[in-house]
Point group: C2
Chain length 133, copies 2
């Protein structure tokens, strides 16, 4: 412990055991998927990502990118120019992942409304107080 949280995942041996969780932990973060999607079209710069992903902070972008790089999902290429230029690119493994993620988002779009209605119905039935305020 002691070791202040620098942002990089600190746990060395979490003993995941479950393969299911192992994947999701890699994609679970609030921004990982959006970065993967944004970078899917080819090399992209830090600032481009920052502008492209609505609402992300510089900190979370840097942090998430580092974790993705750590997992071998993106490569980071520094061009020693002035001003500096850093490009991120998906690795083949990440491209594969991105493809399966597309299935997920596809499911989302097809069933978005269904879920919304289910929610509304559930809420209406379980907390009617909120309706007649």
């Amino acid at each position: 412990m002691s070791q202040r949280n620098t942002g990089v995942t600190t746990q060395v041996v979490n003993a995941h055991a479950c393969p299911v969780r192992e994947v999701l932990d890699r994609v679970a973060g609030k921004w990982s998927v959006q970065i993967l999607v944004a970078a899917a079209h080819g090399p992209i710069r830090f600032t481009e990502l920052e502008r492209g992903i609505e609402g992300i902070s510089r900190r979370m972008l840097a942090l998430t990118l580092r974790n993705l790089e750590r997992d071998g999902l993106v490569t980071r290429t520094v061009h020693p120019t002035v001003p500096p230029k850093v490009e991120y690119e998906l690795t083949p493994v990440a491209v594969e992942l991105h493809e399966t993620l597309l299935r997920l988002t596809d499911w989302a779009e097809r069933n978005r409304e269904y879920v919304a209605k289910a929610r509304a119905a559930y809420d209406a039935e379980h907390q009617p107080e909120l309706l007649d305020a």
Copy 2:
């Protein structure tokens, strides 16, 4: 606010905007996917889930089940017997989701080692101090 956290997602109008996140929020929880997987083979009881999913607490099981039910992903059927018996079952929409999740776990299994090695390599290069303790 005031309203103590009862466990059910409190936010009514979060304005998601991003469809990508909309899906993942539904699956993002630590246990949602595992429950979906465990229930994929047909109706299953609360206690069976509890025993089947390693490490889950009763609280999180109940909580996650309720959110899944709220989203229309599982149905909850109470059999008014003694002792009580409650069965959970995936809805068709959730079955579809489960299928796409299988692609994800498949990706995970195929690339599990790759990621592990990437991590090890990254860590070795970025914090050598931890190696010669």
